[in-house]
């Protein structure tokens, strides 16, 4: 399908573009950017006046729950939610059933996504076999089958020796390691951030030191092995201080945070709200301020959702037994646009964190509107207002702390390889 996207404010940090332009898409690729362009033969025209046109957004941290946990989400519903949220690509974590620690599982995900998915799915394989933290997974095979990174997300690699070897081995295979940085012995039986709110509610706390201590270990191992490392879902002031410092020393470390960490604090747990239970836990206003500062100064490279669907039955229970995690694909864009409204980020900087940087970190040929690039494009309506309602979410699960919230900004069109896979109207 050919497309003319007309008169939108095109923001493409990969080329330093921020101006009102037309884009011509032909045969699934970007053909041309310019003013007053003509539609190619048989092209559909999208009127993007008043809209923002960006390289397709990339969520480098989602859980599609497929294979094995399809009652929560599957590749079809997960990619539908991604498209509705403006994402053209997602990287899915390996904690499926079975764990994506071998090329058979990777191949299944790739094939199903290709056949039935609405957006690109880039699988992340496991660091260790079964994500058990005992022996390295076959990273060469994983990469060959289509994995773009390895991570034992949700389960930190507790052995420092094994993590060291993982970083070394992955470097040899040319695949990125993504770390879930958390010291489990400090987490203990904690179910929320340790602080005043946990004290008041009588819930067991998880200290910030559990994240900071593990982040420090990861950073030193990356420095020691001279390997690239990405830290997932950073939530504390201390972790950011460690990462900022490491970056100035030239350590090849990148990191991401999630919209809930710059939108909510542990106050959201009051009332024992299980939709505010996640890992790492929601922290304090102090941490939230540090996250915004780190987004602004570039310490945080990417915004990822950690989209973690869970069935109602897994959340409609006492707080301490509820599963961790929230869905995020459909609320990420408006929550992130708020950062622009608050002056934390410029729009181009936001696009970098939601499209260009994730592509760079994962080493995938996306995140740009350069002529010849795959036409993955997001058209954003920055003025659209809407309410988050459970039955309108495309995701199979509805575990969001933002239900009922008024949102501003939405994807108007999500375009993957030149094909409109989602349109708001």
């Amino acid at each position: 399908m050919n497309l003319l996207i007309k008169g939108g404010r095109v923001i493409d940090p990969s080329q330093g573009i921020d101006e009102v332009l037309d884009i011509v898409v032909e045969n699934g690729a970007v053909k041309e950017l310019g003013a007053g362009l003509k539609a190619p033969a048989g092209a559909e025209t999208i009127d993007a006046a008043g809209m923002i046109v960006t390289p397709g957004l990339i969520d480098m941290h989602v859980h599609l729950r497929d294979p094995g946990l399809e009652y929560k989400e599957d590749i079809i519903t997960g990619t539908k939610a991604a498209a509705a949220g403006g994402f053209t690509s997602v990287a899915c974590m390996p904690n499926t059933k079975p764990v994506n620690d071998n090329k058979a599982v990777t191949s299944y995900i790739v094939a199903k996504a290709k056949a039935e998915g609405l957006v690109n799915v880039f699988p992340v394989g496991a660091i260790t076999q079964g994500s058990k933290g005992e022996a390295l997974a076959e990273m060469g095979d994983l990469k060959e089958a289509g994995c773009v990174a390895v991570s034992d997300d949700g389960r930190p690699v507790t052995s420092s020796e094994l993590m060291r070897r993982a970083l070394e081995y992955a470097k040899g295979m040319g695949i990125m390691v993504i770390s879930h940085a958390e010291d489990l012995s400090l987490v203990g039986e904690g179910v929320m951030n340790e602080g005043f709110v946990s004290t008041e509610l009588g819930l067991k706390g998880i200290p910030w030191a559990a994240e900071d201590a593990a982040t420090a270990r990861e950073v030193y191992l990356a420095e020691f092995t001279d390997s690239p490392l990405h830290i997932a879902h950073v939530s504390t002031k201390g972790s950011l201080r460690i990462i900022r410092n490491a970056k100035t020393r030239g350590v090849k470390v990148t990191c991401e945070t999630a919209p809930h960490y710059f939108t909510l604090t542990d106050d959201a747990v009051r009332g024992y709200n299980t939709n505010a239970k996640m890992n790492p836990p929601l922290r304090t206003a102090d941490d939230m301020a540090a996250i915004k500062a780190a987004l602004a100064d570039g310490t945080i490279d990417a915004i990822a959702t950690d989209h973690a669907p869970h069935h109602l039955d897994e959340k409609d229970v006492e707080f301490n037994v509820a599963l961790n995690g929230i869905i995020g694909l459909e609320t990420s864009l408006p929550l992130s646009l708020k950062l622009v409204e608050e002056g934390v980020l410029t729009l181009p900087a936001l696009v970098e964190k939601m499209a260009c940087n994730p592509a760079k970190i994962l080493g995938i040929d996306r995140g740009t509107l350069k002529a010849g690039a795959v036409a993955d494009i997001t058209v954003i309506d920055p003025k659209a207002t809407w309410t988050v309602e459970a039955d309108r979410l495309a995701s199979k699960s509805k575990n969001s702390p933002f239900l009922g919230w008024e949102m501003k900004g939405a994807a108007a069109y999500t375009i993957v390889s030149g094909k409109v896979v989602y349109s708001r109207s």
């Binding site: 340790e194 602080g195 005043f196 946990s198 004290t199 008041e200 509610l201 009588g202 819930l203 067991k204 706390g205 009332g271 024992y272 039955d313 409609d316 229970v317 006492e318 707080f319 301490n320 037994v321």
Partner: protein, 311 residues
Amino acid sequence: MGFNHKDIIGLQGLTREEIQLLLDTADNMKEISGRDIKKVPTLRGKTVVNLFFEASTRTRTSFEIAAKRLSADTINISASTSSVTKGETLSDTARNIQAMKPDIIVMRHAASGAHHYLAQRVSCSVINAGDGAHEHPSQGLLDMLTMRQKFGALDGLTVAIVGDITHSRVARSDIFGLTTMGASVRLAGPPTMMPPGIERLGNVTVCTDMREAIAGADVVMMLRIQLERQGKTLLPTLREYARYYGLNPQNLKLAKPNAMVMHPGPINRGVELSSYVADGDQSAILTQVENGVAVRMSMLYHVSGGELPTE
């Protein structure tokens, strides 16, 4: 004024007047327990379900006696907290019990917030008989009643609470209730058992040394060390705990001469309290137990509308 709450989940959020009312009613209820025939028809025809997910003999018995003295029909259900892992959720349990149309559910549960959860799902009243490390409002009320009986008022009292504050629902309910009523609370215990920000809950001071907390105090409340909960990391040995955080005749002298010694029970003799103190003149431990029945009668009475049944 009346008591306009469907449930009693905690003392946090109750007003001074409401706590006053609960205590005043308890004082009146106490008289009933002193009669030959310890029964009034107040809750006749009402059904009270004691739903205990955690073992507790004294609290359950106390609630049962309270309900029976008010002529309610009582049913005791002991359920294992592990029923969640066996498949039955609290939500299902709640629905099932609700279907039997009780008037009041008295619940104890190991999960903080379980009562909050239950109260939103059932139309009958819910009384918290202890949830995790969150609240134990009937204990808080009986503690306050015992103090009020001795000192006449709670305003201006200094109450020292010593022990494992982190895991203590009694400490939280005492703090919420006492500070609302105008008392000041001093806390002491090993820093491994002191939760962050606790001083922000009200008029609360955290002391590093137990002696500092009890110096000049009107009341010394010793908390039970839950041996099963401490693991190996919160304290080295019970011997050392008793030495630094136990109440004995020597350090009790630091408190006011007429200071009252309290303990929510059951006591680990020789750990939190030396037997000399536990059985001594200043100990109010058995009065606390006695007051427990009166306070629970008051709670049952007020959540059920606080009115005599029409004939």
